[in-house]
Amino acid sequence: MTFNALKLNVSVNKTPLLNDISVEFQAGSLTGIIGPNGAGKSTLLRVLAGLQETQSGDVLLESTPIGNISKKLLAQKISYLPQSTECHWPLTVERVVSLGRFPHQTGAYLSSDDIKAVDDACDKADIAHLIGRPINQLSGGEKARVMLARTLATQADIILADEPIASLDPQHQLEIMTLLQSLARAGKTVILVLHELHYAIRYCDKLILLNKGLKVCDGESSSVLSTQNLQNIYAINSISGLHQNTPWVLPWASLDKK
């Protein structure tokens, strides 16, 4: 399944948010979109999800612009997990997760396949023990995992997630990143917006670095998160290294703007 963005230009209220962005996403890979605040990361993700209109440019799924694909079909192929974990009504956990099956349902009926998918998603996101509880009684981290389970329940080929581990404790951060990586290995296209550079460099096969609406570079994680890029784009000094043959990076000091 090929999925790519071609020359995206987005402005809202005459403010340019994305400038001529082109990216290719591979099936079976975990791609991270990174960059400082206001770089346009969430905007790019929203465009990929079909939520944001572009002034020019296209998002192509198997060479078809997503605007030409029916909403229902698109929803079966692309799953989107936003930053906010809002659920307006205090639904129970399993009900929330089952909402992820909506693109596959006709009417209210949940087939045994649907129920299996919900079960599976709850296991993967480690929230099976929370089933039956209303979502508003859960902690921030638990809510985030329920929302992730909802995304997984759709069993879409492409998963878009906006800062999925931001409110999680370290254990769950590691578990979710491992989960997302394994989903990518299983053939899905996983695209994340991340702030956590140490996870980006460790788990992502490819990184896209944005700054002020422009694509600075994309490619293999360590090369994107080079000391130079971190200095120029993030304005920080960092330290880095290798552990168990996996690169790590740690922000160390802020560079003075002067």
Binding site: R46, A49, G50, L51, K71, K72, L74, A75, Q76, I78, S79, Y80, P82, S84, E86, C87, H88, W89, P90, L91, T92, E94, R95, V96, S98, L99, G100, F102, P103, Q105, G107, A108, L110, S112, I115, V118, D119, C122, I131, G132, P134, M147, R150, T154
Partner: protein, 340 residues
Amino acid sequence: MDSLSDLLNTRKERRLGVFLILLSLMLFLLSLFVGEFNLNIINIIEGLSKDNYNIDSVVFQHIRLPRSLLAIIIGASLGLSGAALQGLLRNPLAEPGIIGVSASAALGAVLVFYSGLSLTFPLALPLGGITGALLSVTLLYLLAGRNSSVLTLILAGVAISSLAGSLTALALNLAPNPFASMEIFYWLMGSLSNASMEHVWLLVLPTVLGWWLIFQSRHALDVLSLGEDTASTLGINLATLNKKLILGTALCVGAAVSVSGGIAFIGLIVPHLLRPLVGHRPSSLLFVSAVAGAALLLFADIIVRLLPTQQELKIGVLTALIGAPFFLRLILNSRRAWAS
């Protein structure tokens, strides 16, 4: 612990639905036979044939039956539209009375009624109500739909209610008929007295259409709990959904108010009480709110008929007497949550 498929099924809700239907039927029968005059059932049954048509038949077919049917239709519309508006605006306080939809519908109906238009073209009356309702729901959605803050919604509702109410009073004052200006109370408070079968026929088409539009959207309302962005990525066309809900609500509330005046609070009380019983799911709430709304209005109407007041109490007064304190309690309990 229940299995996942048990939790995801709707058996409990179906039971609730059946219970409410039986309750409504019972109240319907009660409503048919409660009144100042004790009807003789035998006379009524005999009176079904033209030859044996008698006074009991007249009272039953032309006074009791239309009134009871209107209570069901209007009560269901009010309960359903309350639940629908709450799902659409993602706000538990949305209710046609509180947010000014009923007042706007009344304005539309008043303009049509007192100008004499509805005498030549009877359908103009519900159409007037529907137009008024449509304008206000659209306005409310534009003002407060995106931003689901309680404060914005209530303020918009207050503004629309006041404007519609004062325009209605003005229209009634300017109306040529001398009784008109005294009838404002009827339009703002609502009443089912003097209902006739003509009213029932006027309502049927727009009401059923409105109900259908709303029911069609029930699953999308569940998904809408996750916010508009997520709902859109799950395949929901937001524009179509909003239009269906707005139009559906306007149709059934507008038509109802054009016949009975603005009966308030049913759409607030009923969904609020039933929501915990259906797991807070908007989709399940719609049907049970409709049936419970019918039951509640039937009940209130029976009481109004039994009260020993010289002139029959306007039913809206009764629903407000129950509903307003209920509303206050809601506010008190959730003050902190809504302060943001």
